[in-house]
């Protein structure tokens, strides 16, 4: 054995010793740190040992299947079946995966956010460095930090997101008090002061209140959250109809008029509200957006409602009886 090999052998032995002690109540973290610092080769050796250990853990079932029965285990099969749930094991792996999906909140406030906003007649395509795209709808605003893990602040209006799959980074959209965490999805996000709506056409994503537990939304589902109460409802939708505004259409299927009014607000350019007495009226059909001006007439033609202009806003009320 050459001197270099002996040296490497000693380093590998030390790395294995440290790794085997991680669970020990007497683990000396300072000393472990000092050892890692002493020579860059220590770090490399430790990486290799830790990766190997994690790999064996990850392939445990396949390895066990390839091994003849463990002699110790023969008469104690129940013990052998038990899974270990300490942090170095399954939970850690799951946690580590979860962390990859998690946004970096409260991070460097120095990151540059670029603001995008659109007028009543224009949409805007935003291309991200990682190959993802965002199409910003009319009368909408967002701010974007296009870093390794892109962060988007949806401020108002609607946008359609086409996010490229890349497990190495988090893609985070913040909208009001909520976060949408995504790793490879196509989805539509609509935001008003009252409401947050997320509809997924491909893949899946997590919608969560900041610092709270999330709800998983998959392709063909949409979630609507009332900003005031936090009340949320998930419903089934046709995945193909998600983001139909990109083709100049609004497609509805038994959608409450209250939600439709939110969309109208954006295209008409003035607040559109539905009287509470008819807010639950269901809208089914296709509206042509065009320049937005004709939408109110289309709604009036579709439903027993009429538009009343008050101040700068449009109020929808029942056309029969009131």
């Amino acid at each position: 054995m050459t001197h270099a090999e002996q040296q490497q052998g000693r380093i590998d032995t030390a790395a294995a010793d440290w790794h085997a002690q991680l669970e020990s109540p007497d683990m000396d973290w300072e000393a472990f740190g000092a050892w890692l610092d002493a020579d860059p080769a220590h770090r490399v050796a430790y990486d290799a040992i830790a990766l190997l250990d994690a790999e064996i853990e990850g392939r445990r079932d396949a390895i066990t299947a390839s091994l003849p029965a463990n002699d110790v285990c023969d008469d104690q099969t129940t013990v052998g079946q038990r899974r270990r749930w300490w942090i170095g094991g399954g939970i850690a792996t799951a946690a580590a995966i979860a962390i990859l999906l998690m946004p970096k909140m409260a991070t460097v406030p120095t990151e540059t956010m670029v603001a995008y906003s659109t007028g009543p007649a224009q949409t805007q395509m935003i291309d991200l460095k990682d190959g993802s795209h965002i199409l910003l709808d009319r009368n909408s605003r967002l701010a974007l930090s296009d870093s390794q893990s892109p962060r988007i602040e949806m401020q108002s209006g609607t946008a359609y997101f086409d996010v490229r799959h890349d497990p190495s980074r988090a893609f985070l959209v913040q909208a009001g008090g909520y976060e949408i965490r995504d790793i490879g999805t196509k989805f539509d996000l609509a935001m008003t002061p009252q409401r947050l709506g997320v509809a997924v056409s491909e893949g899946k994503l997590m919608v969560a209140p900041k610092d709270g537990a999330g709800t998983l939304i998959v392709a063909g589902e949409r979630i609507d959250v009332a900003a005031q109460t936090g009340e949320a409802q998930v419903s089934r939708i046709a995945a193909a109809s998600v983001g139909s505004w990109r083709k100049g259409q609004l497609i509805y299927q038994a959608t409450p008029l209250g939600l439709v009014a939110n969309d109208l607000t954006r295209y008409v350019g003035r607040p559109v509200t539905a009287d509470p007495s008819i807010g639950d009226l269901r809208v089914s059909g296709v509206l042509a957006i065009s320049d937005g001006a004709g939408l109110i007439q289309q709604i009036e033609a579709l439903l027993p409602v009429k538009a009343v202009e008050t101040g700068g806003s449009i109020h929808l009320v029942g056309s029969n009886g009131r």
Partner: protein
């Protein structure tokens, strides 16, 4: 924008209300305070030590800061039960985070150096698909057999301890009790096993 709210198709959820979400979070943290000494508090109090340790672990202060941030995210969000030794736990969580980063870096390096899986390249040269290809699955089986062979060839004492701990899932103290040896003897056996495996699989 498309919407469907047909009541029959809807399911109501526990509201992801910002307020109630935070409330839930708080109570979980409080339980931790009682059970495990308050992980976030322990983290805050020991931040300098953690930064120091992970600077040593990664060789970079900036990366150490990222790792500690991710540890914080983990303990603030994950439902961890009571933890016996919070500071050790935080170190171990961080080591797992570092290992994930190392693994990801290696994967990316492989991709960039063009050692991409043939099966993926045939799909258009873009090695972005992380789902296992048939090739990967065969690779995985071969690798598992290779690991099993190496584990079988371990010295008997180290091999038995390693298998009980790593494959059967017993904790160090459970293995120690079962085999009538000390915990530190278990650690030694495992270290020997890892050292052997490392050499055998090089």
């Amino acid at each position: 924008m498309a919407r469907s709210g047909a009541a029959a198709n809807s399911r109501c959820l526990r509201a992801p209300n910002a307020k109630s979400g935070i409330e839930t979070r708080r109570s979980a943290v409080e339980e931790e305070n009682e059970g495990g000494g308050g992980l976030t508090a322990v983290l805050t109090a020991n931040r300098p030590q953690l930064i120091r340790f992970f600077t040593s672990r990664t060789g970079s202060l900036a990366e150490a800061e990222d790792v500690v941030q991710e540890i914080w995210l983990h303990v603030a969000r994950a439902d961890t039960g009571p933890v016996v030794s919070p500071l050790a736990y935080l170190h171990r969580v961080g080591l797992n985070i570092v290992l994930d980063r190392v693994r990801e870096r290696q994967r990316r390096m492989k991709r960039e150096q063009g050692w991409s899986d043939v099966a993926i390249e045939q799909r258009g040269g873009e090695a972005t698909d992380d789902s296992p290809s048939p090739h990967d699955i065969v690779d995985g089986r071969q690798r598992a057999r290779q690991l099993a062979t190496a584990i079988e060839a371990l010295p008997p004492g180290a091999g038995r301890v390693f298998r009980r701990h790593k494959l059967d899932g017993l904790s160090h103290s459970e293995v120690a009790a079962e085999l009538g040896i000390s915990r530190s003897a278990v650690e030694k056996h495992i270290a020997v096993a890892l050292r052997y495996l490392r050499a055998a699989l090089e």
